[in-house]
Amino acid sequence: MLNSVYQLISPKIISIKYQDISFEDEVLVRPDYLALCHADQRYYQGKRDAKVLRKKLPMALIHEGCGTVLYDPTHTFQPGEKVIMIPNVLSTDREDEIFENYRKGSAFLSSGRDGFMREFVNLKPDRLVPYKEIEGKIAAITEFVSVGMHGVNRFSKLAHSYKERIGVWGDGSLAFVVSSILKYRFPASKICVMGKNADKLNQFSFADEIHLIDDLTDGFTVDHAFECAGGEGSAYAIDDIIRFINPQGVVALMGVSEAKVPINTRDILEKGLVFVGCSRSGREDFENAVDFMKDKKIQNRLNSIIYETEPVEKLLDIHRVFSVDMNTNFKTVFQWKI
């Protein structure tokens, strides 16, 4: 079957690769809605290290999306069924204990392998999670929500039971999703969100407390914390967390930083803190995310961080989407009609 794959060949240059694919044991899915991630934008803008770009390009971007099953030779899905696509390529190394997203030998679509910017996507049936009753543009960000699910899941396995106050550092999309999940999973806890931008913080209407980072004073405390700032904000966020967290708290690190971050290890040792790094997610997290997103209230909440831009119908529209995303505070999603 001939497929058109829309590959980034160098920063801001996209070219179509035609690929003859075989699909005896794979499901063919037509992407309906796709969502941009900061990682895609960094590749597109050429903001990754030159060595990384040389190694990973050309490749199709985008790893967040939902679609419709066109054909399934394995008969796991019916044509027309709506599915979320999981971008992890599985390895079975130590699969009894290690999460699929951290296993040696695992790969990720849109990081060295073609992502979802294709006419259709061929995936093994276990890389698809069916969904119903979720609007397409919201279902598009399921991968993003699953990353939050994964972070919260790991946190809940490690954290002591005193969870009166959970702090989330960051005021972007990741912080929004993580806070929403925390509010849902730990209704008795107070969810406190710390950020730099008052407008963005006001979007967190469900949070119990919102604080500008400059307003935090010595009396402020949290039992556990999530670092969702990423980038240049990581160092400041981690420093704040170490300062304000109670002893033996768990700190989930979820924001991505291109630069190395200095950490005050003396206070980590003194407080006996647990740091856990979280990135990406696995099938279980996708399933949990779909369950979570079935709730209409949650869908409405997630809708507030989604900016739907015009559909992509031709190659030039891809450039428009990346340009629009540069001026959007939250998640950019679009229909894939190319």
């Binding site: 079957m1 001939l2 058109s4 035609y18 075989s22 037509r30 044509p79 027309g80 009609k337």
Partner: protein, 230 residues
């Protein structure tokens, strides 16, 4: 209902080969198989028909059995002496199987355009439902010159108004049938393009955006180009 009509009635004389060009290998499959696969993937098409030269029916049947393993079946129909005859052989078969209907849509396509996309098929079906007829085109890149004797230019039309026709071409089937059977024998000889039948009878044909990649593989150079694209 919506029907796909893949036209493979040619005998490949332009390539000077022993086999019609639609049966040549592109990658690991014959060209026609790539085209059929894309049609089978389009959920909006209820049934796919392939019009084949009578001499190549058995060969095509063997190829389909070898490469296509879907539950959806492809029906072969013997082609006619020209493109429109092949289309109307398919129309007849559709009506034998599904009866006549004002609602039937027919998506016709060259078997030697394997780079057709799902988007083009979708846009064709939508346009045929809405407008009755549509043609897939790309804006002309080269300047088009008109010459009636092949010796001197008679006119150079504004390039902005020039498009190159591709396929699919899609129609409301009963409308196309009515127009075709109204043509005289002489008109049928001249009007070998189904969209042209609509145009000369004053029926608007909606333009659907094609792609430059949707090439028609008719010469050895086209074949080289298609192989290079993969």
């Amino acid at each position: 209902m919506v029907f796909g009509a893949i036209l493979a009635g040619g005998t490949g004389t332009r390539m000077g080969l022993d086999k019609p060009k639609q049966f040549l290998m592109l990658g690991e499959k014959p060209i026609i198989i790539h085209t059929v696969e894309k049609f089978l993937l389009c959920q909006e098409l209820d049934q796919i028909f392939v019009g084949v030269h009578p001499d190549w029916m058995i060969y095509t049947e063997d190829l389909l059995a070898k490469y296509i393993h879907t539950d959806k079946k492809v029906i072969l129909v013997a082609g006619g002496k020209d493109r429109n005859e092949t289309i109307f052989n398919i129309v007849e078969r559709i009506e034998e199987m599904y009866g006549e209907s004002e609602e039937h849509i027919l998506v016709t396509h060259d078997s030697v355009r394997p780079f057709v996309t799902l988007r083009m098929l979708h846009d064709n079906i939508e346009a045929a439902k809405k407008y009755g007829a549509c043609d897939t085109v790309v804006a002309a890149i080269d300047t088009i010159v008109v010459s009636e004797d092949g010796e001197v230019i008679k006119d150079i039309p504004n390039r902005k108004n020039m498009f190159q026709g591709q396929t699919p071409q899609s129609f409301n089937m009963s409308m196309l049938k009515k127009l075709y059977y109204e043509l005289s024998i002489e008109e049928k000889e001249i009007l070998t393009d189904a969209c042209k039948i609509c145009v000369v009878r004053g029926v608007s044909v909606k333009l659907v955006r094609g792609e430059i990649s949707n090439i028609k593989i008719t010469t050895v150079d086209d074949m080289k180009m298609a192989q290079a694209m993969l």
